[in-house]
């Protein structure tokens, strides 16, 4: 059975995917170029620009910061988000329906507004250390992912299994860890990974909450671009694309990538 697709549409689709992937190929190519300026196709091949990353301490430092921030922020938001998601799935009738909307507020409020407000209130107003404000900001913007992805898993979980465990004498807390958690593992992994990458790539929050001594990789990249235009940025970008590939592999293993079209 063939549904015929108009050839014009096929051509358009091919062009769209060239448009989507072409620029990324350009980055990879120019990261390998043996020139001091960005060019494509690469002229001569070298891995020099990759080793150069590690000679610029601003990059290595912010890489570490970004990674730790993403792990800590996501973990924090998981610790807070999973109980909330559980409460909403398990005790749906006990909680008002608008609560679901409360947890997606961080998506509805423009990130740049949130970043500015956090900077103004927390860092400036209350004198909270900037790194702590950064952590809170990241935990906030990934909260919708953790609550929703874990929530989707929980919604398809049959809670009578948990009740069965409790009826067999298993304490509630233990039942949660031994019966519920293993069954929503895929949702937790996928939620973690999506939150992680969101945090890792964030600009709008971080731009306000970085300062002397504390910066993240995307912010450092922005700053670097304003002064230098050499292939180092391209090679950092390639490293970040590597992280994306790893993330996609994990999502594919856990939920399948088609999950993202739902």
């Amino acid at each position: 059975m063939k549904t015929r697709i108009h050839p014009v549409l096929i051509v358009l689709t091919v062009l769209t995917f060239l448009f989507l992937l072409g620029p990324l190929v350009v980055i990879i190519g120019s990261a390998l170029s043996d020139t001091t300026y960005l060019t494509f196709p690469p002229q001569g091949l070298t891995l020099h620009w990759f080793t150069n990353i590690f000679e610029i301490s601003a990059f290595t430092r912010t890489m570490g910061t970004s990674f730790m921030l993403a792990v800590a922020g996501t973990t924090l938001s998981m610790l807070i988000g999973i109980p909330a998601a559980y409460a909403m799935a398990r005790y749906r009738i006990e909680l008002p329906a608008f609560l679901g909307n409360v947890f997606v507020l961080p998506i509805l409020i423009p990130e740049i507004v949130l970043g500015f407000s956090l900077m103004k209130s927390l860092a400036s107003g209350f004198g909270l250390p900037i790194s702590l404000a950064l952590l809170v900001g990241h935990a906030l913007i990934v909260l919708p992912y953790t609550v929703r992805v874990v929530g989707a898993s929980l919604n398809s979980f049959d809670f009578s299994i948990e009740e069965a465990a409790v009826s067999l004498g298993c304490p509630r807390i233990k039942a949660f860890f031994t019966v519920v958690l293993p069954n929503i593992r895929a949702g937790i992994i996928a939620g973690f990974i999506l939150a992680f990458i969101t945090s890792l790539n964030d600009v709008s929050i971080s731009i306000f909450l970085t300062g002397p001594g504390v910066s993240t990789l995307p912010i450092q990249l922005l700053a670097h671009m304003e002064q230098f235009f050499d292939p180092t940025i391209a090679s950092v970008s390639v490293l970040l694309m590597g992280v994306t590939v790893a993330v996609m592999a994990v999502v594919e293993r856990t939920l399948g990538l088609t999950f993202l079209t739902k």
């Binding site: 697709i5 549409l9 358009l12 689709t13 769209t16 995917f17 448009f19 989507l20 620029p23 990324l24 350009v26 980055i27 120019s30 300026y37 060019t39 494509f40 807070i80 988000g81 109980p83 909330a84 409460a87 005790y91 006990e94 409360v102 947890f103 507020l105 409020i109 423009p110 990130e111 740049i112 507004v113 949130l114 500015f116 407000s117 956090l118 103004k120 927390l122 107003g125 935990a139 906030l140 890792l200 790539n201 600009v203 709008s204 731009i207 306000f208 990249l221 922005l222 940025i233 391209a234 970008s237 970040l240 994306t244 590939v245 993330v247 996609m248 990538l257 088609t258 993202l260 079209t261």
Partner: protein, 275 residues
């Protein structure tokens, strides 16, 4: 312990996180805008009377709207084809759309800097084939911002719409054909009306996303193509005009929330399943 109490206890940390670190700071920002000694609405009067600020607002609206229209058009046509591909090709295409989506904004905007720059790939290519003699200055124009924004949002649109189109059962289009509808009529009278609610949701995501973006206008628009996001940053961190920045922030929130509320109401009204 009652179930209600247990439910609230479990949800409390998340509610507090949102309330204390999102609700209060954002409300504080709003409050700032009304605290002007010249009267509670004077900052807004200043905003809407300033030609420069209005230019920025309209430019941002225009860029967001054009980005949305182009992204919806490209996204719909592409999703239409992707949804009709056999399994293996379809998953490959979905992977090809997810990859840029999960790659950071800075990286994706940077790519266009390399392509559109004075000594960029496009200029070099056009000179080489003799189409132009002097390099064009394509960066820091509205066009360059729109191209990069479309690049940012097309994957999102494709993924959303593939989901929407796959949700339309083949029986629907078969039924239309069996009743004498030509492929064009089936598309107009069955597929499109059924896809519109999902289309609106996707369009709202793109509009609000591009309306509030920072990194892309910063890199590809610069000072010359100031947009609301970059304007806010400039006011807050360069000129330290926090009242002005707060006003910009409030305008952004109002525009975003209004768009979301109106369009989700429209989508709900058009949603066939709601009856």
């Amino acid at each position: 312990m009652s179930n209600r109490l247990r439910a609230w206890l479990l949800a409390t940390p998340a509610i507090l996180l949102v309330f204390i670190f999102l609700g209060l700071p954002v409300l504080a920002t709003f409050a700032t805008t009304f605290g002007d000694p010249k009267g509670p609405f004077s900052t807004y009067a200043a905003f809407f009377n300033s030609r420069f600020r209005m230019t920025v607002l309209w430019r941002t609206m225009e860029v967001a709207l054009v980005t949305t229209i182009i992204s919806v058009a490209i996204g719909f046509c592409t999703a239409w084809v992707v949804a009709r591909m056999p399994g293996r090709i379809k998953s490959l295409l979905i992977i090809a759309a997810v990859f840029p989506l999960l790659t950071g904004v800075v990286v994706r905007s940077f790519a266009w800097l390399v392509i559109l720059g004075k000594n960029g790939i496009l200029n070099n290519f056009l000179i080489k084939i003799g189409a132009i003699a002097e390099p064009l200055s394509m960066l820091y124009t509205q066009g360059s911002v729109i191209v990069a924004m479309v690049y940012l949002f097309v994957p999102l649109m494709i993924l959303t719409l593939v989901g929407v189109l796959e949700g339309i059962p083949q029986d629907m289009t078969d039924a239309a054909a069996s009743l004498g509808a030509t492929p064009a009529a089936t598309f107009r009278q069955v597929v499109l009306p059924m896809a519109v609610p999902g289309l609106i949701v996707g369009a709202v995501l793109v509009f609000t996303g591009s309306f509030t973006s920072y990194a892309t206008p910063q890199l590809l628009g610069g000072e010359r193509q100031m947009m609301m996001g970059t304007f806010l940053y400039q006011r807050a961190m360069v000129t330290f005009d926090w009242v002005g920045a707060s006003t910009i922030a409030a305008v952004m929130v109002v525009v975003t929330l209004t768009t979301v509320l109106i369009m989700s109401k429209v989508a709900r009204k058009l949603n066939p399943m709601a009856g």
